[in-house]
Amino acid sequence: MLTNRSKSFWLLLAPALIALIIVLFIPLLTGSYYSLTDWNGNTVGSFIGLDNYIKAFQDQGFIDSLIFTAKFSVVSVILINVIALMLATLVTQKLGKWTTLFRTIFFMPNLIGGIILGFIWQFIFNKAFESIADLTGIEFFAGWLNTPATGFWGLVILFVWQMSGYMMLIYISFLNNIPEEILEAADIDGASPLQTFFRIKLPMLMPAFTVTLFLTLSNAFKIYDQNLALTQGGPYNSTQMAAMNIYNEAFSMRNMGFAQSKAIIFLVIIVVISIIQISITRKKEISA
């Protein structure tokens, strides 16, 4: 009915294809070309081959931002998924009305945009922590976001608070899909809750990990709004993530061609990591 020759087939597809071509594929092509020029946003740049790419790998600020992003991503992906799994296990314990209340509260931060979250935590780290430090005299709470380390952990805390509830919902839906009989059988066989968790629930959650790891990993890598609102990359660019480095290169420095070469490097890194992650978790899914 909707064969290749039928007009309807192409009419139904046309809007989606046109949108994808305009928004994704043309910029992908022109962007690849721009990355080989010294384009500054106004005049058409002249072709300079791979110079931008060579420069990008020698740009310490860019390399540092990539390393910072990678560290941030690894730490937050682990924390988010461990915490989300704990929250999901807690919420699926048949707690009656409490279930909805807990679920609502844990998910709440996810409703709020990165810019606003950044400002909320700026207040917590700068003002509330300061009050705690004054009150208790504990040095730990003083001067947050003023050092690279506290900036890093500040971003991690913000992102974990934001994303854990979202991932929790995904884990909950997979946990609820585990047949009741299996868990009852394990209970009758005398399996401890920990044994049930590691031997039964975790293997059956493998398909969930494909989704949650993809979402947390790519969201962590692409983070920008939170970074801008919480630390603005400071102190001294020490908490600048890759996305912010690219943004500033393009829209503050106006080195569009150079920035685009960084963007392409960034794109390749994300695509490679995503493909590796998906193929690993898919394999685990099948063997489990």
Partner: protein, 300 residues
């Protein structure tokens, strides 16, 4: 491990034979104890999770001097002056209307465009169809920053920034994911339904409109929920493509507001609470749909 657990089960079953009643009440007691400790743990975790909101709310009612003194105590009185000022400075109604227009406009486009595409692809098993599906799936992997610069430059050149441009950009950025989800759902809708409608004399578009789209409603809810949170909260793309102050969305306005009133936390906090509360209320009201939407989106 397995041995001991088997031994345990043998032991247990012999106990069951002897005194079924005591076993039931014992496990019940154990379960009740477990339940109470789980609830307590949940309450502690929830308080911990909610505390940042609590701090923001109590401090939003304080004067500048009060905040300077201590941020951990309750406010002396319910000072709503902060809210009045923040409401004005944020141009709250206008910013909210701008956000709403862009969010709703983009959502409507995405729902129709991607469900139509997924319908066409799912009802055609040719090589061309699977190739197009593959091309659309590529879009899932491309990070926004990878195309951000040429995209903004392209839309700037053809003077398509601000609201219409923003909607088209969101459409293009969200099409892959949405088509992907609709396609998954469509595989579960038997083709015999379409064929029956053809026999009844319906054309392709009538089938799409009257048969397919209503059946896709659960997926539509998923797509609306996932994209709504993104569009409503996004800062990066609007910051690059909205260049008229009258068209600022809430996150944009919030950012400039914050720059302007940097050290005036009493105003900033009132503004933060003001933009957070509506979306939280909306969530609590529509919670069932949101939770189902996100779960379905992940399982498919």
């Amino acid at each position: 491990m397995m041995k001991t657990s088997r031994q345990l089960s043998i032991k247990k079953s012999s106990v069951v034979k002897n005194s079924n009643k005591t076993r039931v009440s014992a496990t019940q007691k154990r379960n009740n104890k477990k339940k109470i400790s789980m609830i307590l743990l949940g309450i502690v975790m929830s308080l911990f999770w909610f505390y940042p909101f609590f701090l923001i709310i109590i401090n939003s009612f304080k004067t500048k001097a009060e905040i300077f003194q201590n941020t951990l105590t309750l406010p002396a009185g319910m000072n709503v002056e902060n809210y009045r000022t923040a409401f004005e400075k944020l141009d709250f109604i206008k910013s909210a209307a701008n956000s709403l227009l862009i969010t709703v406009g983009s959502l409507v486009l995405i729902v129709f465009v991607s469900s139509m595409a997924a319908y066409a692809l799912s009802r055609n098993t040719s090589k061309i169809s699977s190739f197009i599906y593959f091309v659309i799936a590529i879009g899932l992997l491309i990070p926004f920053q990878g195309i951000m610069i040429p995209l903004i430059s392209l839309f700037g050149k053809v003077s398509m920034l601000n609201q219409p441009g923003l909607m088209i950009m969101y459409l293009g950025l969200a099409t892959s994911m949405s088509t992907f989800l609709y396609y998954g759902a469509l595989r579960g809708i038997p083709k015999s339904l379409d064929e029956a409608a053809v026999v009844d004399g319906a054309n392709t578009f009538q089938i799409y409109w009257k048969v397919i789209l209503p059946l896709l409603k659960p997926t539509t809810i998923t797509i609306i929920v996932l994209n709504l949170l993104w569009f409503w909260n996004d800062y990066l793309l609007p910051s690059l493509s909205v260049n008229k102050e009258g068209m600022y969305t809430i996150p944009l306005k919030m950012f400039y507001f914050f720059g302007e009133f940097n050290k005036q936390w009493h105003l900033a906090l009132a503004a933060l609470v003001m933009v957070i509360v509506p979306i939280i209320i909306l969530f609590v009201v529509l919670q069932k749909h949101v939770v189902k939407g996100i779960s379905d989106g992940a399982v498919k």
